[in-house]
């Protein structure tokens, strides 16, 4: 009966300064209720969305980065980060929040949600999707 589609949300922009990152995250959380196969990709300045230790106190905006930790609860556990985008910004995986999810099929073992992939690998992943939504 249910027709599960593969959705990929592509995030290209820095978390603050525009509303794109927060809007994308909210759409992901809302869309999660429809139980589709959801993944997120972070490229270009979008990789900054996952950087740990964000502090927005000086810019008068809500720091919504803790919400990425909730994605696992929503069964969103495939977060692809483009390696080249990280490198171009002098970042490594250690600079990102250690996001995890609990694998229901593996006795609720805690597993990392973030997967750093090359640009070529990400292209293949995008190719497999039914729907790609860019923010």
């Amino acid at each position: 009966m249910s027709d599960i589609k593969k959705f990929l949300y592509l995030n290209r922009k820095a978390p603050y300064g525009t509303i794109y990152a927060l809007e994308s995250l909210e759409v992901v959380l809302i869309g999660a209720a429809f139980e589709q196969d959801v993944s997120l990709a972070f490229v270009d300045d979008g990789v900054y969305q996952l950087v740990k230790g964000q502090d927005t106190s000086e810019i008068g905006m809500k720091n919504f980065s803790p919400t990425y930790n909730a994605l696992g609860d929503y069964d969103v556990n495939k977060l692809y980060v483009e390696k080249e985008s990280l490198e171009a910004r002098g970042l490594t995986e250690d600079d990102l929040m250690p996001l995890t999810y609990e694998d229901e099929d593996d006795d609720w073992a805690e597993k990392p949600s973030i997967r750093v992939v090359s640009s070529a690998e990400l292209a293949d992943i995008m190719d497999e999707q039914d729907v790609v939504l860019a923010f």
């Binding site: 909210e26 959380l29 809302i30 999660a32 209720a33 809500k62 919400t67 930790n69 909730a70 609860d73």
Partner: protein, 110 residues
């Protein structure tokens, strides 16, 4: 419609959710429930306090599916199901309990 508790007025949005979440006190939650004709029991408070902790950690109010699963994990299986939660909060556990907890309406909740 603003709500008055112990002589202090609290702003709410058009659906009765508290406008400023830092103003919340348990008495505000009690007063909101009373307006809906609900007397808050310890079981209600368990869920309300859980939601406040969840919000504090993740900066969102969880969707009802997520809430149900998380309650089951924290408070036991007999409480982590929709029947139990809807008996406590007949207007929808996420929606109604979030209101009494002083949180915004859950993301994606209509």
């Amino acid at each position: 419609m603003p709500i008055e508790v112990n002589g202090k007025t609290y702003e709410t949005d058009e659906e009765g959710y508290l406008a400023n979440l830092s103003e919340w006190t348990p008495e505000v939650g009690e007063a909101m429930a009373k307006e809906d004709g609900t007397e808050l029991s310890d079981e209600h408070w368990e869920v309300i306090n859980f939601l406040r902790e969840y919000y504090d950690e993740y900066q969102i109010a969880p969707a009802v599916r997520v809430l149900t699963k998380a309650i089951g994990k924290k408070l036991g299986k007999e409480k982590g199901n929709s029947k139990y939660l809807y008996e406590l909060f007949p207007y929808g556990p996420a929606k109604q309990a979030c209101k009494y907890a002083g949180l915004p309406k859950p993301t994606g909740c209509v």
